[in-house]
Structure formats: C-alpha cells, structure tokens
C-alpha cells in the first residue's frame, strides 16, 4: 500500500506527455470521407468504362440521344471557376475574413448555377427519351452524373453554412479548410466525369 502511494507520488512528479494536434478533427474527418467517396466514384467510373468498351453496337447505343457536350463544357467552366473563387476566398480569409465574403458568395452562386444548368439538361434529356431504363447509357448517365450532382448539393449546403458563419464572424480557419476539401473534391471530380461520360 505504501509502495503504491510512493509510485503515485513519483508519477505525479513526472512531466505529463504533451499532446499535439496533427490535423484538426474536421479536416481529418472530411479527408477520410473524401477518400471513401473517391473509391466509390472510382468503382462507378470503372464499371462505366467496362460497359462502354464492351458495347457491341457502339457508344452511345443507336437510337439513344447524344449528350450536350458544348453546353456542359460551359457548366464545367462555371464549376472550375467556383473552385478557383473558393481558393481566392481562402487566401483573403487568412488576411482579413471580411474580404473573403465576396469570392465565397460568387463561388456559391457559380455552384448553384451548375446545379440549375444540370437540371435543365436533365429535363431536356428526359424529353428526348433518355431514362434510367432506356439503355445502359441512360442508366450510367443518371447514376454517375446524378451522384455527382448530389455531392454538389451537399457541398453547396456546407458552403452556405460556412458563409453564414463568416458573415456572423464565427467561421474559423479549420472549418473553412474542411469545406474547401469537399468542394475541391466535387470540382476536381467533374472534369474526369465529363471526359468519361460526355466525350
């Protein structure tokens, strides 16, 4: 009993191990999420590549509408510009958070424009007869582009949340970093999807 008391006494005299944060929790969590989502999209893109290569009657199959390549190129430019503006907002935030408001707002608006234009494109494709069940082309188009669109919507929601905190002066750098990781993933993935699905 006495020995135990001595050990306890000694342990109290030893310096405590100093804790250091390697990465903020939000950033690490978002990074793990993005890694998982990258694998998910990797699987979808691979499945699409195999079905496309194995199509005996060409791709897209005969009788199926062609995808709007030129219009979607404008959409692609809007989404990439949105990513660049978020980077500008990040740079501005480091110097003066108030100056990050305008580029962040523009980034959100461009992201929203992307979603709206994609919606318009989907309506047109549905009118032309491209549905989930019309062919594997249609199924993959709605699956891949729809899943990406869902991620863009989630990214937009997170951007709106971050912007609201920025306006109220509550946004901290690590929160902005986590939002940036998600948005850069969404922006960076789109050119790959455009190349594989539209071209």
């Amino acid at each position: 009993m006495e020995a135990a008391a001595k050990v306890l006494h000694l342990s109290r005299k030893m310096p405590a191990a100093r804790r250091r944060q390697v990465a903020p929790n939000g950033v690490l969590g978002m990074l793990i999420f993005v890694i998982a989502e990258t694998m998910f999209f990797g699987g979808l893109i691979s499945a699409h590549a195999i079905v496309k290569a194995g199509a005996l009657r060409g791709w897209p199959p005969p009788g199926q509408p062609r995808l709007p390549v030129a219009e979607t190129l404008i959409n692609t430019a809007a989404l990439i510009a949105s990513g660049v503006l978020l980077y500008v907002a990040h740079r501005a935030f480091a110097h003066n958070p108030r100056r990050a408001r305008t580029p962040m707002l523009l980034s959100m608006l461009l992201g929203a424009a992307f979603v709206v234009l994609q919606g318009v494109e989907w309506v047109a494709m549905l009118h032309q007869g491209l549905t989930m069940t019309s062919s594997t082309h249609g199924a993959f188009f709605y699956l891949l582009i729809g899943t990406h669109g869902l991620h863009v919507l989630c990214g937009l929601a997170v951007l709106v949340w971050a912007y609201a905190r920025l306006v109220r002066g509550l946004l901290v750098g690590t929160q902005l970093a986590a939002v940036q990781i998600l948005w850069y993933f969404v922006v960076g993935l789109w050119p790959v999807l455009y190349w594989r699905v539209y071209l």
Partner: protein, 97 residues
C-alpha cells in the same frame, strides 16, 4: 506423410483431368474484343492503385504534419538533462522522504 502424398497426387490428378480453362477473373468472360480486354486491365490497375495512392498520400501527409507539430512543440533546445544516475538518485531520495 503417406496421406499427404495421396492427397497431393489426388489434387494433381484432378487438375490434370480438368479440361476447362481456369479464369482468375470472374467477369472476364465478357471481354469479347481487344477494347474490352484493355478496359478490364486498365480498370484493374486503376482500382488497385487508387486505394494505395489515397491511403499512402493521407499517411504521408499526416506524418509530415506530425513532424511539423513535433518541431513546434519542442521549441528551443531544453537545458541539458542531468546524468541518469543523478536523476535516479534524486527520485529514490524523493520516494524515501
């Protein structure tokens, strides 16, 4: 030992007696032409490399951050430690008093 040899011979006999082609890839029967075969190969390489790159990248980033955090915590060089014998003697004296 005899039983193991008999099992080995039986297995070898089965392999020799199997006339069908063994396919390592369960879906490669669908690869009808060169384009499909290339797609199977490319996606296999892609899906093999992708997790390794992602996890490797994340681990190397965390290792770099940990090294930076260590440097930040250590700060200026501490004063020289007393000799281990002196420290042990001090601790023992503390325990006894």
């Amino acid at each position: 030992m005899k039983r193991a040899r008999a099992c080995l011979l039986a297995a070898a006999g089965l392999v020799l007696a199997t006339p069908a082609l063994a396919l390592a890839c369960p879906v490669c029967f669908n690869a009808k032409d060169d384009a499909a075969r290339v797609a199977f190969l490319a996606t296999t390489v892609f899906l093999t490399a992708l997790p390794l790159l992602l996890i490797g990248g994340a681990i190397s980033w965390l290792a770099r951050r940990a090294a930076q955090a260590d440097q930040a915590v250590e700060g200026p060089a501490p004063a020289a430690d007393p000799a281990p014998e002196t420290r042990a003697r001090d601790l023992a004296r503390d325990a006894l008093t």
